[in-house]
């Protein structure tokens, strides 16, 4: 097999806190092929955003590292575009200007002014936002802003697209529409995507592989599930496809049987003393399961 496009090796992430280091991630290993669509799923606070931020270069792993196309990742850059959890558009710029800021920066030297303009409009059209070019983020809905955030990321022509719950705050209809557009765009551009989600259906529908994370602290990758449904995928046709239902079941079983969500009221503070104990056992577990983590449902 050829070298993986993106590779996380033995990543540990410890945050400095008031009461000593807090180990959020331990022994995270992940290899991703070019053009693969990977979903990260896991309970809230387990460390999904932390993984994404390490790949983005916004956080530095305390041990291990991330290699993209043979180069170690240690600073953020536009070849790893991020769609942030809360759109993160500049509130003082219009829709057009927000995308322009990114395009200007990335294609300053390689595109003429007219080409850049066309490229900006093309990307806004992809997400169906070309009707509100001159609106500010404050004047459009959350879903529209999220779409502009996606257009901005796509406009950077990233080799890896990182998305942190891109559709989290959207209503079901908009969400379905955007999922369909994303599938199409991803297939056309053959871009590598890592997407964080809480939505099992979304993960199964969009992904080539679902990566399920164990609960923190010292979270790691619990199971991986290859989704071998044919593309292009149609949500209606898949709804009672037996394979689809089985994939769904596998993820649900991981989330709600193997990794139950920590009981309410259990704060991170209370967990911290245990965090150190767990760091000593968890890696062994992870290594054990790690050998044959890829479940295949065929």
């Amino acid at each position: 097999m050829s070298k993986p496009h993106l590779e996380l090796t033995n990543v540990q992430m410890a945050f400095d806190t008031k009461d000593g280091p807090f180990v959020a991630l331990e022994n995270v290993d992940l290899k991703i092929r070019k053009g693969e669509f990977v979903s990260l799923i896991g309970h809230s606070g387990c460390g999904k955003s932390t993984v994404l931020n390490i790949v983005a270069g916004l956080l530095q792993a305390t041990r291990g590292g991330c290699v993209l196309d043979g180069h170690e990742v240690n600073t953020p850059g536009p070849e790893r575009a991020v769609v942030f959890q809360n759109h993160s558009l500049m509130p003082w710029l219009t829709v057009y200007e927000n995308v322009e800021l990114a395009v200007q920066q990335v294609f300053k030297k390689t595109m003429s002014k007219a080409e850049r303009k066309e490229w900006i409009l093309h990307n806004l059209k992809l997400v169906n936002m070309d009707h509100a070019l001159d609106k500010r983020p404050g004047e459009i809905s959350g879903g529209m802003a999220q779409r502009v955030g996606i257009a901005r990321a796509l406009a950077m022509k990233p080799s890896v697209l990182l998305m942190d719950e891109p559709f989290g705050a959207l209503d079901a209809l908009t969400r379905a529409h955007l999922q369909d557009s994303l599938m199409k765009i991803q297939q056309d551009l053959n871009s590598t995507v890592i997407m964080i989600t809480h939505d099992v259906d979304e993960a199964v529908l969009l992904s080539d592989r679902i990566v399920m994370m164990t609960n923190g602290p010292a979270a790691t990758i619990g199971e991986e599930l290859r989704i071998e449904l044919p593309r292009p995928r149609n949500r209606v046709a898949l709804a009672d496809h037996p394979e689809y239902v089985r994939y769904r079941q596998a993820v649900l079983s991981f989330l709600y049987e193997k990794q139950t969500f920590p009981a309410k009221g259990e704060s991170t503070e209370e967990q911290k003393p245990q965090a150190r104990d767990e760091t000593s056992d968890q890696p062994e577990n992870a290594v054990e399961t790690g050998k044959d983590r890829v479940l295949r449902i065929a």
Partner: protein, 334 residues
């Protein structure tokens, strides 16, 4: 005679009412209450204040006679305006006189050098207002030029911020009166020129204004810059914006609302400080006008000072409104 005036008054009053009603009919029920609150209540406040002032003023006896009521102040306002236009006329005459004389001289000898001197009369109240406005704007602009860039540096750099924070905290509460003697001495020692572009007194007041008014802008700018949404900072990092692009495209726009709040407070302080500085430094302006009237001690002095007080307040209010308008034009969150 009295009869007709009262009749006229009643007429104009009912006209005013009719106008009000016409206005209020255009707006809906909720807006009616709103419009009433916006127009009527301030009007009531002002009328009550005038009534109280009118009643209370004669009770306060000073060595220069009773404290002036609204009527005397109105009268002095007219008087001051009259003095100003008289002065203008005389100045115009003075110039035409010189021009005529120059023509005569030139007719006799075409090579003669002629010049026109300015009218040497004392500045009027209106002149003083413009002098004060010029000084306050100069001081405020200088304060802004210093405070905004410095605030950006402080906001961007934690180490620098820690280093200068104690200095800011100590110098911020210093009264203009304390700075003034120092500024005066430094200006007279350092600004020596045979043909000075600015009056020394102007520089003294201006620098005092700058020293006292730059703090709110400085502090607000640094707070605004250091409080840029971390998600937006991440966007900037992912885009690999250069330092300057980052400052111009992310940091500055994001802190514009905070900077403007600071600028408005600064301008208010600048205007207050200026009057005190002019009084003490004897530099031309409204402060000097007040001081001169106080020294003059005529029976009209108190009324004239009161006119100045009201003018100072009104101009301060206008300056703030102008800043607000600029803010609305510039800031993205308005």
């Amino acid at each position: 005679m009295t009869h007709t005036t009262t009749l006229n008054q009643a007429d104009s009053l009912s006209q005013g009412q009719r106008w009000l009603r016409a206005l209020t009919e255009k707006v809906s029920g909720i807006n009616l209450a709103e419009a009433g609150r916006q127009l009527l209540l301030p009007a009531i406040g002002i009328v009550l204040f005038l009534a109280f002032w009118h009643a209370a003023a004669p009770q306060v006896q000073t060595s220069l006679g009773a404290f002036p009521g609204p009527a005397q102040v109105m009268e002095q306002t007219g008087q001051l305006w009259q003095e100003h236009s008289n002065q203008r006329d005389r100045a115009a005459q003075f110039v035409t006189m010189q021009e005529k004389r120059n023509e005569r001289i030139l007719a006799e000898n075409p090579n003669a050098e002629t010049k026109i001197r300015d009218y040497p009369g004392a500045p009027t109240f209106i002149d003083q207002i413009f002098t004060s406005l010029g000084t306050v704007l100069a001081g405020f602009i200088l304060a802004t030029i210093i405070a905004v860039p410095l605030g950006i540096i402080i906001g961007l750099n934690r180490h620098f911020s820690a280093a200068v924070n104690p200095l800011i905290q100590v110098f911020k509460p210093v009264s203009p009166l304390a700075w003034l003697p120092l500024v005066t001495m430094v200006v007279s020692a350092t600004y020596v020129s045979d043909d000075p572009m600015f009056e020394k007194s102007f520089l003294t007041s201006m620098i005092t204004v700058t020293l006292c008014s730059l703090w709110p802008t400085l502090i607000n700018t640094s707070v605004g810059v250091s409080a840029v949404n971390p998600d937006l900072l991440n966007v900037s990092k992912v885009l690999r914006l250069s330092f300057w692009t980052h400052v111009r495209k992310v940091v500055l726009p994001s802190s514009v609302p905070m900077i403007f709040t600071g600028l408005r407070v600064s301008l208010g302080i600048a205007w207050m400080v200026l009057i005190a500085a002019e009084m003490l430094a004897q530099s031309p302006g409204l402060g000097k006008f007040v001081w001169d009237e106080f020294q003059n001690g005529s029976s009209e002095s108190l009324s004239r000072i009161m006119v100045a007080v009201l003018a100072i307040g009104f101009i301060g209010f206008l300056l703030d409104r102008i800043m607000l308008l600029i803010q609305k034009k510039v800031a993205w969150n308005e």
